[in-house]
Every structure is written in C-alpha cells, then in structure tokens.
C-alpha cells in the first residue's frame, strides 16, 4: 500500500505541488520566527558581553524590576573616590569608573547620527580600560576631543581627524574626532561616542562627582567569585557588588523576556499562517481523494481494507507534509538572511551565522507534518468508508454530508462567544472582562468558520446577483460552481476570512485609537507649538533658549526622571515622575480630574503628588494616600491630592517642578517635550519659526504646530498598522494559493463538464471568465465575511478599553472598501492559472476524460 501511495504522489505531482507550497509557506514563517529569535538573542547577548565585560561590578543598588538595559540613567552615583579604593583591593587588576549619558553627534551629512531606535550614548574614555581598544588614532584626552566606535564612525560618514558638532550635556559643542575604538562586539546600531574623563565627569556624572558604576577586572589567579567576596565591604549604603556573570545573566534574561514578547507575537502570525495552510491542505486532500475514489475503490475491490486505504492517504499527507516542511525550513532561513541584510543596511548588524539549531528544524518539521496529516485525516476516513461498488460506478457521486451538525455546532459555539462578549460589554469594569472578550472573540470566529458553509449558498447568491444578471450564462454557471460544494467554498474562503477578520479588527482598532488619541490630545493641548526630540531628550540649552524667546508667552518644559516609588505597604518600583512648573496644567496641558481637588492639581505644592487613574487603579492608590518617592537626594513622602486622566503626559505620577528638583538634580532630569504658547500679537507660525531658529543647532529637536503634533501621534499608529498589514499579507498570500489550489483541482474535477460546455459552444474566453468569476466570488465572500466578523468584534473593544484611552469607535469604511477591492484583484489573480488551464483543455480530450 505504501508503494501505491507514493506512486500516487508521483503521478499527480502538480496536484500535490500546491499543498506542498502551502505547507512550506506556513512552516517557513514558523522556522523564520525561531531562527530570528535565536539570532536576535545571540546579537543582544553579544552586546551585553561587549558592554559588560568586567569580572565584577560595584554599582548603585537596583530595585528588582529596574531595567539594566543600556542607557537607563540611575538617579544616584558611585562616589569617584571609591574607584581608587577598589583598585587598591588585593587581586584587582583594573577598576574603571564608568559613565554614560546621551549625546547627539552630527554626521558628515549634517544630520544626527542615529539608526533605528538604538540609543546614542557618550561613554567616558579611560586609557587602561581593557574593554576598549583604540584601533586608529588615539583616545580623547581633553574637552573637545572624542573617539568613535567603529560602526558609529562608519555610519557617521566622518573620519578620524574631522571636526563636527555634538550636543553633550545640553550644550552644542565643537568636537574633533581623534580616534576609532572597538568595544569588542557589535553594538546593534547604537551610536557610541567616547569622551575624555574630565568632560565625562562634568557632563555625564549623575551628581557631578560620581560614576555610574565601577567595572572591576580581576588579576590573574583571582576568580570573579573571590573578587566579589573581597569587594563585599563596599556594598551597603545604596551600593551593591555583583559578579560580571550575574550582571550579564541578569541583562540577558531581561532581554530574553522582552524578545519573548516579540517571539510570541510572531508565533501568533505563524500559527495563523499554518492554520490557513491547514485549510488548503485539507481541501487539497479532500478533492484529490474525491477524484481518486475509483482508484481507491479498485484497491478496496482487490482486497485492501478500509484501514489500508486510510493509511495510504495519510502516508501521502505525511510525505507532502515532510517535504513541504523541509522546504519551509529552508525558506524560513532564507527569509531571516534576507531580513539580516535589510537590518544591516539600516545600521543594525546582527551577528553570527543563520542559526540552524535542532529545535528550530525539529519543531518546524513536526508542526508542518502533523498539520498535514491531521488535515488529511478526515478525507482519508471518507475515502476508506466508501463502498467499493458505489465508487466503481460510472458517475461517482459522493453524497454531500448534511451540514446540519456543522450548523448546530457553529451556532452553539457562536452563541457562547456572543454571550461571553455580552457579559464583557455589560460589565466592562470587571477584571474578567478582558478574558471574556478574548474568549468570546475566539469563539465567535470559530463559530462563523463552522457556519460559513451554511451561509455560503445564500451569501454567494447575493454576491453573484450582478454577474448572473449581466453575464449570461457565465455568471450563472460560476454561481452554480461556487455553491455546488458549500463546504469546499467555505474552506477556501475560510483561509482568506481569517486574515481579513484580523485586518478588519486591527484597522478598526487602529483608527479608533487614532481618533481617540487625536481627539483627546486636541482637547488636552493648548500649546501653539510643541518642541520634541528624536532622541527623546531635549538638550537643556535648547530648553533655556526657547524659554528666553520674546515670541514665547509661556514655555512649559515637561521634565521627568525615573524614580523608585512605593505606596502604602508596597515594595519600591521604578516609575517615571513628571515635574511640571506651576500653572502648566490648565495653561498648556488640560487633564481630566477624576478625584481630588482641581485647584491642588493645577498648583502642586511641596509634599503633593497627582497620579493617573490607570496607575491609581493598578496600585489601589487613593486621594489622601502617602507615596514614598526616592531620588538621588533621598526619599520623600508625598500625599496624593488628585487622580486624573491624560493622553498628553506619558508618566503615571506628576509633581511640581520644585519637588522634582529636590528629588533629582536638574541635570539628571530629562525633558522630552516643551509646550510653548505665543506671546500676545505673535502668530503660531511666527512662533514656530522663532523656535525653529534657536533649536536648529541642536539638530535632533523638531518644532511642531499643534496640528502637526496631533498628526504626528496619529502617524505612529499608522506605522504600527503597516507592520501588521505586512504580517497579515502573508496569510493573504497563503489564502490566494488556497484559491488557486481549489480552482485548479476543481477544473480537473470538472473536466468532462468543461468539455461538454465547450462542445455546446462555450468560448475559451467565456470559460476563463467563468473560472475568474468563481474565484472572485470566493475571495469576496471570504473577505466580506471576515471583515464583518473583524469589525463586529473590534466594535466591542472601546466599551471595555475606554479607560485605556480607546474611547471612540471609528470604522474606516474606505479601508474596508479597499480590502474588498483587493479581494476582487486577488480573485482575478488566483484565477489566472486555473482559468488558462481550463481554457487550454482540448474539447475532445475533455469530453472523453475519465
């Protein structure tokens, strides 16, 4: 039987090729996801190793959940004197006080050197630091000299000896590039500038004298553990001693958990791709079994048992699955190498070979094969159970099984889903609401998938109406073919439906979020001009110069700092705290008061703090509670005087600027936004021009009018949409393959019918037209059903997520219309090959086709 099964594949290679392709695409995504993840974590591990190469560290005690990712500034510092004391400890080869801070470097083209979202960092240069290797020129020795990391130098377009501009410590300065330095690993696009020790202490030190950490290198014969033990006396008083291994492990775990999210996200899409692929595979096998009914019946007649017939179909599925998966693994790795080239070209170098680890290969193969075998199991069972005599008859009519159980099951699951959604909608404030929403949405989607063959006849009837009316008899023939086998139509359309449901839901949510954000931001911002920075940090010089402009009536800088915050009975956790100058609220920023006093909120005093509703809900904080906020200058108890909601301020806590100043020195605060209102008699345009003039030297600072600011926020949502659409595009590609597959097989299946039609005078173009209309009807059916489900599900979101800023429901009808138009195009494209194939059939061959 095995031989029969394998010969079957060889004899019908074309037929199996498409399902092979479907498996391969689905598996490619899975394999690619795994490989990308391995490569990303390898790269980030490399960065961690390069950034933290020492054997032990003396550093400021970190709260548990504080991120140790590079670029995070701590509010406290390690005293500089300690560096020498540590260096004097027995077994210490080098003790390097490390400093880092943000810098803006102007490249050869006059713009800031910056790639993707990677940070731009200034580090102090210590000549005997073993992790730095000067490979060209020399290290910086005095203020005004810098050395650049190799990749940075390359992407800046500058060379050693050039002079350029940098924004360091909030001031614009001229710097000379005196050298090129390697850090011992790729920095994934981070811009690294080394400055001399004195400059670093002046502008980078958290409190003008200390360093971020002391990196300690052991002398020969001293293990890192021994080193950490000897350094133990330095711990305490806000400092801790950790081994390099522990620090690196911490950082890697931290990064891994962040990458884990990306992996999950990608795997969801891989799952969708496979799920959609499974539809195609099961369709292919269902049709191939149907066509081979006589052959299988012959096998039964000569003595094969139902089990053997069943097994022979499964063997074919397994072979197709295995081959497809193998192709998919290769495709996935190719995908990742392509991605690496793309990422490399935008300045993000990923290290290492494309990882071909056993897990990736085995998981991909198993998943692809299992999906194929499972998808083929149902048709195989059907093939095995057909009585041989019935199948040997001339016209093999496999009775369509009743759709009743599908209807009942679909209705039941759909009803469950709707009930869950209704529960979530009626009590959106309950904690379970989000779970109910997720479960309900999933159940509704599955229910509709099950019901789709039941509704296919009616729905396609409606969609086909114009074709039937306008294109006689082609329209009617096409409609007949589509509704002839509702199950097959629904399965083919189902692949597209899933993708389109996601597209519909995502675009509704995105547009709703956009409208919610822009609506609220418009209502909450009174500033005429908003100043922002591409690096998220506006140099303090720029802040001062904008404030000093005569055209500026008011200039409110939104300064913030990460501080350890704890409510009553809570462990301290790092949160961002914003400091606002008196009068900012109500002048350039409007917030919505939820609880407490508006007067207090608008003039936050010493000992007072306001919190957002989201933070208050999360922590259970109430007006009157005391929060402990710890900064460089020690902890302070602040009383909650107001709870508010905002879409403009990006941090959960707000204090007066004076309070923030007492918690953190000004130099340590970051300003990411300045809200400027025009002085009397100055137009917004004049103000924008004036502000743009003074911030021009700072390169990365952009000046937006209020409208631009709002549309800028909206554009961020658009970017997110593009990524999602790109991923969903893959499921659409697979769905198109599915339609091609079904049509091609259905053309083979209908060969005699096609011969008959041609014999009674149907032209080749008319025949191709019939196939095309079938394809378009199937594609539009899947798209409309999917979009309807997606939009309906997304429409429930604003009720549940109103508190999270998703307050308005907006349906992007134009986008959705575009999707339907896309479905028509998809349908036409999918029909090309099967249509041509059908038109090329020789009439006589088709009439005499067995």
């Amino acid at each position: 039987m095995g031989r029969v099964a394998l010969r079957g594949i060889r004899a019908h290679l074309v037929r199996f090729l498409l399902s092979l392709l479907a498996v391969a695409l689905g598996v490619a995504f899975v394999a690619g996801t795994f490989a990308l993840r391995t490569m990303l974590s390898g790269t980030f591990d490399g960065i961690v190793d390069a950034a933290a190469p020492a054997d032990a560290y003396v550093r400021v005690d970190q709260p548990d959940d504080a991120s140790v990712v590079m670029g995070t500034t701590t509010a406290q510092s390690v005293p500089l004197e300690l560096v020498d004391e540590v260096a004097a400890v027995d077994g210490v080869a080098h003790a390097i006080g490390g400093l880092s801070g943000t810098i803006v470097l102007v490249g050869a083209d006059g713009t800031a050197v910056q790639s993707t979202q990677a940070p731009s960092l200034a580090l102090n240069y210590v000549p005997d630091d073993p992790s730095l290797h000067v490979v060209e020129g020399r290290g910086p020795e005095r203020t005004g000299e810098v050395a650049l990391e190799t990749a940075t130098l390359e992407s800046s377009g500058l060379s050693v000896g050039d002079t350029t501009t940098a924004v360091l410590g909030g001031e614009v300065t001229e710097v000379e590039i005196v050298g090129r330095v390697d850090l011992g690993g790729p920095m994934a696009g981070a811009t690294i500038v080394l400055v001399d020790q004195q400059t670093a202490l002046d502008v980078l030190s958290p409190d003008g004298g200390g360093v971020n950490e002391i990196a300690v290198y052991a002398a020969d014969g001293t293990t890192p553990e021994q080193l950490a033990e000897r350094l133990a006396p330095f711990a305490g008083d806000g400092l801790e001693v950790v081994t390099g291994d522990a620090l690196r492990a911490d950082s890697k775990a931290d990064i891994a958990s962040q990458l884990g999210f990306i992996t999950t996200f990608l795997l969801v899409f891989a799952g969708i791709a496979l799920f959609v692929g499974a539809f195609i595979i099961s369709n292919t096998f269902a049709m191939s079994v149907r066509q081979r009914m006589r052959e299988l019946a012959l096998l039964r007649a000569v003595g094969a048992s139902p089990l053997q017939v069943f097994a022979s179909v499964l063997v074919q599925a397994a072979v197709v699955g295995l081959l497809g998966s193998a192709l998919g693994v290769a495709g996935g790795l190719a995908l990742v190498s392509g991605l690496r080239v793309v990422l490399g070209s935008i300045g993000m170098d990923l290290v290492g070979d494309i990882p071909v680890d056993a897990t990736t290969v085995v998981v991909s193969l198993v998943v692809g094969t299992a999906v194929s075998v499972l998808a083929a199991a149902l048709p195989a069972r059907r093939a095995a159970l057909v009585p041989p005599v019935e199948a040997m008859r001339d016209d093999v009519a496999v009775p369509e099984r009743s759709l009743r159980w599908r209807a009942v099951g679909g209705l039941a699951i759909g009803a469950l889903g709707v009930t869950a959604l209704a529960l979530a909608l009626t009590r959106p404030e309950e904690d379970a609401a989000e779970t109910l929403l997720g479960v309900g949405a999933g159940a509704v989607l599955v229910g509709v998938l099950m019901l789709s063959p039941v509704v296919a006849r009616a729905a396609v009837g409606v969609l086909a109406w114009p074709f039937v009316r306008l294109l006689r008899p082609v329209g009617r023939l096409a409609r007949g073919n589509v509704v002839r086998n509702p199950r097959r139509t629904a399965n083919t359309a189902g692949a597209l439906m899933i993708g389109m449901a996601l597209v519909g839901a995502v675009s509704v949510i995105a547009v709703s979020a956009q409208q919610s954000v822009t609506g609220v931001v418009e209502a909450q911002t009174n500033a005429d001009v908003v100043v922002r920075s591409a690096t998220m940090v506006i140099p303090s010089g720029a802040v001062d110069e904008v404030a000093a402009l005569p055209e500026a009536g008011t200039s409110d800088a939104v300064a913030f700092a990460p501080l350890a915050v704890s409510g009553p009975g809570e462990e301290p956790a790092v949160d961002y705290v914003i400091g606002l100058a008196d009068g900012t609220l109500g002048r350039s920023v409007e917030v919505e008061l939820v609880d407490g006093s508006l007067a207090a909120l608008e003039a936050l005093d010493a000992g007072q703090v306001a919190v957002t509703e989201a933070a208050a809900d999360q922590h259970g904080w109430q007006v009157g509670d005391d929060l402990t906020v710890a900064g460089a200058a020690g902890p302070q108890d602040l009383s909650v005087v107001a709870v508010f909601t905002t879409n403009v301020l990006g941090a959960p806590l707000v204090v007066g600027q004076d309070v923030l100043d007492t918690l953190v020195p000004r130099e340590q605060q970051q300003v990411d936004t300045i809200l400027v209102t025009a002085a009397a008699g100055v137009t917004a345009t004049e103000l924008q021009d004036a502000v743009a003039d003074v911030v021009a030297p700072y390169v990365v600072v952009s000046v937006l009018t209020r409208d631009e600011f709002v549309s800028n926020l909206a554009a961020q949502v658009d970017q997110l949409l593009v990524i999602l659409y790109a991923l969903l595009g893959l499921s659409v590609v697979i769905a198109v393959l599915g339609i091609v597959n079904t049509l091609a097989l259905s053309v083979i299946e209908r060969t005699r019918e096609i011969g008959l039609l041609r014999a009674v005078g149907l032209g080749r173009l008319q025949l191709a037209g019939t196939v095309t209309i079938e394809s378009v009807l199937t594609a539009v059916f899947g798209t409309v059903l999917g979009l309807a489900v997606g939009v309906a599900l997304a429409a429930t979101m604003p009720t549940v997520y109103a508190d999270d800023g998703l307050s308005e429901l907006a349906v992007p009808w134009a986008n959705l219309g575009g999707m339907v138009a896309l479905a028509v195009v998809v349908g036409v494209l999918a029909a090309l090959w099967p249509g041509i194939r059908a038109a090329r059939l020789k009439v006589l061959d088709a009439v005499a086709y067995e």
């Binding site: 019918e753 005078g761 149907l762 032209g763």
Partner: protein
C-alpha cells in the same frame, strides 16, 4: 416532406492516424461519406472501427490529418478554434453517451444553455415545441441529479435541438439506458427528423437503435464498408454478421444482448 437532396454534411478522403511508426493506428483510412439533409443516419461498426472518430471529425471536435469536411456548406477542416467554437454553438447540436448536462443548472437552463452562451433570445414557441416533444414539461425546474437517466438524455436531446442546428451529432445516445428509455429517446430523435426536418447523425453499436435510422453506414478498420437503407433490426444484424471475419461461428447474439446489458460492460471506444 419536400427533401433537399444536397447532403447536409460530407467528407472526402478523410484520414486520421493516431500515434506514429509501428504503433500507428489508422482510425480513418480515407473515408468519403455524405449525410443526407433531413435524415437520421446511423454509423455502426465494431469497436475500433473509427465510427466515433468519424463523428468527432465531422463535428469539429477532432482535427483531421487529411481530407475535407464540409458541414452545412462550411468547410470545417482548417477552421481555427474560435471558428470551431462558433460552428458548434450556432450550427451543431450534441448528445453524448453520458455526462450531457451541467449539474448546477436546472433542466430548462440546460436546454437553453447554447442560446445563453450565444446570447440569442429564446424562441418561446420553438422551446415549447421541443419541450413538449421530449415530454419534460413538468421536470423543467429539476436539477440533473433529480432526473432519471432517460430523462437526462431527453433533456440533452432538447438542448441539441433548441438552437435549430444544421446537424445533431449523437454519440451512443442510448448507451447507458434501459430499453424503455432507449425507445423514448430514439423515437424522439426520429420524430425530430420526420416532424421538424432535423438532420441527425448518430453513432451506435445497438442494431435496434440503428433500426430507427433512415440509413445505416457500416465502418470497419477506418473504412466505409457497407450501407443499409430503411433498416430493420434484422437487416442490420445481417449486415453486421457479414462484416465479421469468416471464422466467427458465433451468431450476432452478443451484439444484440449488449443493448440490454449493464452499461459498464459496453463502454464506448470513443477514447481509442
């Protein structure tokens, strides 16, 4: 009925060879034939005699290797695919042994299919005449799967006639039917000739079916070998017996019994 004596379809020097070299099969080895206008002509012959090939070449379903085919004054040999399609659509009608109907269309839709394809208006009176003649008035809304084999073939006949074609080509039209249904279908084909003036060419291996014809042509090994005018079952059987190689002592009984045997056993050699 006044009879135009010019043939409705004719072939001269028709040659059709399948394969080449040692394995070449001469399906038609130079056939000259005329089919009478307003006549029911049957083509008979043993399996492999080339009778189906002759019909396929006449109907423009198959290309000839040599010779000319003229149907209703038009030269079929040498037509391109587009012209052939138009010829089939406008001037020819077809009835096949099986799989005659589009399963997704109702009986009525199947009957008017050629008109729909040609986008010609339906002549209600003619349609009614044809439908009444085949006796399908109350089955028009049924799908093919809801019709018996005989009813399906009658629908196929009605479809072949509804366009008033120059010739109807019927390839074993009763090959899958029991004797009662066969008689209905054949009777209808004969009436369409006698009452509507239709010209019909029918391939069959059933002497009883052939007896409905005005004239029976006999083919063997790709050549026209005989002819019986105004046949009866007996005269056809006698002619067939004469065609058989001399050593055959079997009576013509197998051919006669084939007509009522199970359909599977008598599949047509159309595919050659």
């Amino acid at each position: 009925m006044a009879r135009d004596t010019t043939p409705i379809a004719s072939a001269r020097g028709l040659v059709k060879t399948y394969g080449r070299g040692d394995t070449a099969v001469h399906a038609l080895a130079g056939v000259d034939v005329d089919f009478g206008r307003g006549e029911l002509t049957a083509i008979m012959g043993p399996s492999g005699s080339g009778k189906s090939t002759l019909m396929h070449c006449m109907a423009g379903l198959d290309r000839t290797d040599a010779g000319t085919v003229v149907v209703d004054g038009l030269e079929v040999s040498g037509m391109n695919e587009r012209k052939l399609t138009r010829l089939r659509r406008d001037r020819l009608g077809f009835v096949f042994q099986a799989f005659n109907l589009v399963p997704t269309l109702t009986a009525l839709e199947n009957i008017t299919l050629p008109l729909d394809i040609a986008r010609r208006p339906v002549d209600r009176a003619h349609l009614d005449t044809v439908v009444r003649a085949v006796g399908l008035e109350d089955r028009l809304d049924h799908k093919p799967s809801e019709l018996s084999g005989g009813q399906q073939q009658r629908v196929a006949c009605a479809r072949a006639l509804v366009t008033r074609p120059a010739v109807v080509f019927a390839d074993e039209p009763t090959g899958n039917l029991d004797s009662t249904s066969s008689a209905e279908v054949l009777g209808f084909l004969r009436r369409s000739v006698d009452e509507l003036g239709q010209s019909v060419v029918m391939v069959t291996h059933d002497p009883t079916a052939a007896s409905y014809a005005h004239r029976v042509l006999f083919l063997a090994d790709g050549r026209l070998v005989g002819e019986v005018v105004d046949p009866t079952t007996e005269s056809v059987l006698a002619a067939l017996a004469a065609l058989r190689p001399a050593r055959s002592t079997e009576p013509a009984a197998p051919a006669a019994s084939a007509a009522s045997a199970a359909p599977v056993a008598t599949s047509s050699p159309a595919a050659l």
